[in-house]
C-alpha cells in the first residue's frame, strides 16, 4: 500500500496508485453502505474527487476514505430518506427486492444473489447499516468502528445488535452450511482488489 510505513509522498501518481491498489475494496464498502451498486459507485467517485483536493494532507488514506464514505452515505440518506430503501441497481434489473424470510438461501444453502444482500442492507437505517458493513465486511473491531463513526463503543454494540436482528428477520437462516461457505469463499485478505 502506498501509505504504509513512513508518510508517503502525496502527488497525483500516489493518488492514482492508491486508487488502483485499494479502489475496489473501497468500492465494495461503498456499495454495501448504500445497498446499491450504482449508488456506491457514485458515492466513491464523489468522495475520491473531494479527497483528491486534500490528498497532500491525508495521513491515512484508507481510513480517511472509509470514514468519508460512511459519513457521506449517511448524509445522502438524510437528504432523501424515501430513496433509502428504493434505490435501483440500474445496470442489472435483477429480481424484485421484496425480501422474504428464507428467500436468500438457495437449495445449496448459499446466498444466491447479491441483490438479496443489498436489498436486505437497504432495509437498515444508514448508521446501523454502516456498523454492519464495517464489522462484517471490513472486519473492523468495535473500537475501530467507534472511531470511524465518531461514537461510543456502546452505540456500536447497539447498532450491531439491532442490525443483525433485523437482517436475520429479513434474510432468514444463512447458516445452511457455514463451513462449506467459508471453505469456498475467499477471505477478505485473499480477495483480489
Amino acid at each position: 500500500m502506498p501509505d504504509s510505513g513512513a508518510r508517503a509522498r502525496r502527488d497525483d501518481r500516489s493518488f492514482e496508485g492508491f486508487v488502483a491498489d485499494r479502489g475496489s475494496a473501497l468500492l465494495r464498502t461503498a456499495v454495501f453502505l448504500t445497498g446499491d451498486r450504482q449508488g456506491g459507485e457514485d458515492l466513491l467517485q464523489d468522495v475520491l474527487l473531494r479527497a483528491y483536493r486534500r490528498w497532500a494532507d491525508v495521513d491515512d488514506p484508507e481510513s480517511y476514505l472509509r470514514r468519508a464514505l460512511v459519513n457521506a452515505s449517511v448524509s445522502r440518506a438524510r437528504r432523501w430518506p424515501r430513496g433509502r430503501e428504493q434505490l435501483v441497481a440500474w445496470d442489472e434489473p435483477g429480481p424484485d427486492l421484496a425480501v422474504s424470510p428464507g428467500g436468500l438461501v438457495d437449495v445449496a444453502g448459499r446466498v444466491g444473489d447479491r441483490h438479496d444482500l443489498l436489498g436486505a442492507l437497504r432495509q437498515l437505517p444508514p448508521r446501523q447499516r454502516a456498523v454492519i458493513v464495517l464489522r462484517y465486511f471490513d472486519d473492523l473491531s468495535e473500537a475501530e468502528i467507534a472511531t470511524e463513526l465518531g461514537c461510543g463503543a456502546g452505540t456500536v454494540k447497539t447498532h450491531a445488535a439491532r442490525g443483525l436482528s433485523r437482517l436475520r428477520e429479513l434474510m432468514g437462516p444463512l447458516a445452511g452450511s457455514p463451513a462449506a461457505l467459508s471453505a469456498t469463499s475467499p477471505t477478505r485478505k485473499g480477495m483480489p482488489t
Partner: protein, 269 residues
C-alpha cells in the same frame, strides 16, 4: 472473534447467531467478488479534478442504463446550468437561459419552477435516482452562496454536504402522507446523530404539507428546516433551508410543471 451481544446462556440461540454471522460474512464476500473498480479510475478522478469539473461534471466510470427525464436550471446572470440526467449520472452543461424555465423562475428542478431563492444562490451539486418499488424518479439540487460554494469545495467529505438550500422533486412515487413521512424521515436518521426533531402539519398551495425541523449533532449540518408536500398528481416537492421562513418562502414560490423529456442514455463514458 468477539460477537455482538451474543447470548451467553442458550446454546442453540448462540449457535444460531454465530452461524448467521458466518453466513453474513460469506454473503459479503460472495457479493464483493463481483465488484471491481476499473484500473483507470484514479486517473479519471485526477483528470476530472484538474479540469475543474469536480462534482458537477462527473461521469461514471462504469456504464449504467438509465434513461430518465430530469433537468435543473439556475436562471441567473443570463445562463442556466442544466445537468443532463442520462445514464444515472449528472453532467452539468452551461447553456443560455430562456429554455424551458419560466421567465420569473430562479431555478427549475425536474420540471418544477422555483420562483424565489435567497440572493446569490448558485448550484452546488445535483443528484438523481429512482425508486425501485414504485418507479419514482427524483432529483435533488443543492444551492449555496459563492461563499458556501467555496467552503464546499474544500470541505472535508467526511463532514457531509455543505449547502444553504436544497430542493428535491420526486415524480411517480407513492402517495405522500405528511404524518407517515415523519417515520421515514426520522427512521433514516435514527442513528444517534439527531438532537431534536419536530414536525407539524401545514399547507402549501392548498396542499397538505409537513414542516419538519431536524437538529443534527454534527457540523456543518446543524439545524435543517424541511417543507414537503405533494400536488396530488404524483409530484412530491421537498425544500430544505437553515431557517423556517426561508424554506417556507421557497416552497410557496414553487410552480409545478410537466416533467421534462430526458435525452437518451449517453452510454459508457
Amino acid at each position: 472473534m468477539t460477537r455482538f451481544d451474543e447470548p451467553t446462556a442458550p446454546g442453540t440461540a448462540s449457535t444460531g447467531l454465530a452461524d448467521f454471522e458466518d453466513g453474513l460474512r460469506a454473503a459479503f464476500t460472495d457479493t464483493a467478488r463481483e465488484i471491481h473498480l476499473p484500473p483507470a479510475a484514479g486517473t479519471a478522478v485526477v483528470t476530472r479534478a484538474r479540469r475543474g469539473t469536480g462534482v458537477h461534471g462527473r461521469g461514471r466510470w462504469v456504464a449504467a442504463g438509465l434513461a430518465t427525464a430530469a433537468a435543473v436550471g439556475l436562471v441567473a446572470a443570463g445562463a442556466a446550468v442544466v445537468p443532463r440526467v442520462t445514464d444515472g449520472t449528472r453532467e452539468a452543461a452551461t447553456v443560455m437561459s430562456g429554455g424551458t424555465a419560466p421567465a420569473a423562475a430562479r431555478a427549475v428542478v425536474y420540471g418544477v419552477s422555483v420562483g424565489w431563492l435567497p440572493a446569490d444562490m448558485v448550484v452546488l451539486r445535483d443528484s438523481a435516482g429512482a425508486g425501485r418499488q414504485d418507479g419514482a424518479f427524483w432529483q435533488t439540487v443543492l444551492f449555496g452562496t459563492p461563499e458556501t460554494a467555496a467552503r464546499a469545495r474544500v470541505a472535508d467529505p467526511a463532514d457531509g454536504p455543505v449547502f444553504d438550500v436544497s430542493v428535491t422533486v420526486e415524480r411517480g412515487g407513492a402517495p405522500f402522507d405528511p404524518e407517515q413521512f415523519v417515520q421515514e424521515l426520522y427512521g433514516s436518521a435514527n442513528s444517534g446523530d439527531l438532537y431534536a426533531f419536530t414536525w407539524e402539519l401545514a399547507t402549501v398551495g392548498g396542499h397538505p404539507a409537513g414542516v419538519y425541523s431536524l437538529d443534527w449533532a454534527r457540523p456543518p449540518t446543524g439545524t435543517i428546516w424541511r417543507v414537503s408536500w405533494a400536488d396530488g398528481h404524483g409530484v412530491l416537492v421537498s425544500v430544505e433551508a437553515a431557517d423556517r421562513a426561508t424554506a417556507q418562502r421557497i416552497a410557496e414560490s414553487v410552480v409545478i410543471g410537466a416533467a421534462p423529456a430526458g435525452p437518451p442514455s449517453a452510454g459508457p463514458r
